[in-house]
């Protein structure tokens, strides 16, 4: 058995080395990019030729929510189903285990209270500015989900519930975010015969949100997608953290 495992690992390493050397994992050590990447880089904020532009100076967000938006929609679906599976597996959770764990020292608790404010600001900036700087809904949501995690670690589940974080509430907010994404993506498609996930007006379909509203740059629909995704991701992970902590409490209570 040992020899078999060693053989498998050695074979994997040899195959990967051969693949990298032959360039099967993509061109390495190249000074060029693929032509599709060049297209994205050229057209994402090309104010001189607006046929295919996404109104977002950051190409990654433009790809996520405009050029390859369908990928992201299905990815959000996978996230939704994974969390559904988590909640189904964690049945029979009762609130008698809410007071899980001991509160940390007052130094740690004060530190957490101070830090979560900054984390909230960073998360919101990541989501709001996702279309001009590196960042976006996923990153902002993941950063925002740190807040309930820190509170769970320093205080307890009960404290988090008193603050207003509950699994049901998180689920409801997440569903609202998903509905917002679906509405922005589908409603123009149904009622105005625009493209699915259309962002900027095309010459043949002049439908879209203006990329500048008075003095605020929105990146078309990208800003709204990012905000909805912030709510979706942060609330999903909040629910997962609360459920995992409750499971730990159940283990303690069972013994």
């Amino acid at each position: 058995m040992r020899w078999f495992i060693a053989l498998v690992i050695a074979l994997t390493a040899v195959v990967l080395v051969k693949a990298v050397m032959d360039g099967c994992l993509g061109y390495i050590l190249t000074t060029d990019v693929r032509s599709i990447a060049e297209f994205y880089l050229r057209s994402t904020y090309n104010v001189f030729n607006k046929t295919h532009w996404a109104a977002s100076p950051e190409a990654v967000n433009a790809i996520l929510w405009d050029y390859r938006g369908l990928d992201t929609v299905y990815e959000t679906t996978v996230l939704f189903i994974a969390l559904l599976g988590c909640l189904v597996l964690a049945t029979k959770l009762s609130s008698e285990f809410m007071e899980v764990g001991e509160w940390l020292t007052i130094i740690a608790r004060t530190g957490v209270k101070l830090i979560i404010m900054f984390i909230a600001i960073i998360a919101l900036i990541l989501a709001f500015k996702g279309y001009v700087t590196p960042g976006g809904g996923f990153q902002g949501g993941s950063a925002f989900a740190i807040i309930p995690l820190l509170i769970l670690a320093a205080f307890s589940c009960k404290y988090l519930e008193n603050l207003g974080y509950r699994v049901n509430k998180a689920e409801a907010l997440r569903s609202l975010g998903l509905l917002a994404i679906a509405a922005i993506a589908v409603l123009p498609f149904i009622f105005l015969s625009a493209y699915f996930l259309q962002n900027q007006p095309k010459p043949w379909i002049p439908i879209g949100i203006p990329h500048v509203i008075t003095f605020i740059y929105t990146g078309g629909t990208i800003l709204f997608y990012n905000l909805a995704e912030l709510v979706v991701v942060s609330m999903e992970f909040t629910a997962i953290f609360i459920v995992l902590t409750l499971l730990r409490g159940e283990e303690h209570g069972g013994h």
Partner: protein, 135 residues
């Protein structure tokens, strides 16, 4: 400059391949389920790094795929096309990271259920207890 770049890239690829091998070893050989999950996350992150590296561009001053101004001149756009790294792998990796996280949470939940049913996380002990139940 070229030689240093080549050496650096070889070093990074070699270490990534070693990490992939270690992760696969962990998934196959470790009997503890939590260790298997940890190895799986290591494998996922290494593969993500591979994908990011594919998009890297060995020009003298590679730029992130962001146009640094809201009122770009034609030179800005030409500059980003000449020096920007590939944004497509980065977009894929964001997707992959979030899915990885969700799947890890799901796996941890499954592991918790297994621990409740059998009282252990060691694969061989679980097999034995299963045999006792049936026998």
């Amino acid at each position: 400059m070229e030689g240093i770049n080549y050496l650096l890239a070889t070093y990074v690829y070699a270490s990534l391949i070693v990490i992939v091998a270690v992760a696969i070893y962990g998934i196959i050989a470790k009997p503890n389920l939590i260790k298997k999950v940890i190895a799986l996350t290591i494998l996922g992150d290494t593969v993500n790094t591979f994908i990011i590296l594919i998009g890297y561009r060995f020009v003298s001053k590679p730029k992130p795929p962001v146009i640094p101004t809201l009122h770009p001149s034609p030179e800005d756009i030409i500059n980003i096309v000449k020096n920007g790294v590939d944004p497509l792998p980065q977009a894929f990796v964001i997707t992959a990271i979030v899915i990885n996280l969700a799947i890890t949470a799901f796996l941890v939940m499954l592991v918790v259920r297994i621990y409740r049913a059998y009282g252990t996380l060691e694969m061989n002990l679980i097999e034995r207890r299963k045999g006792e139940e049936h026998g």
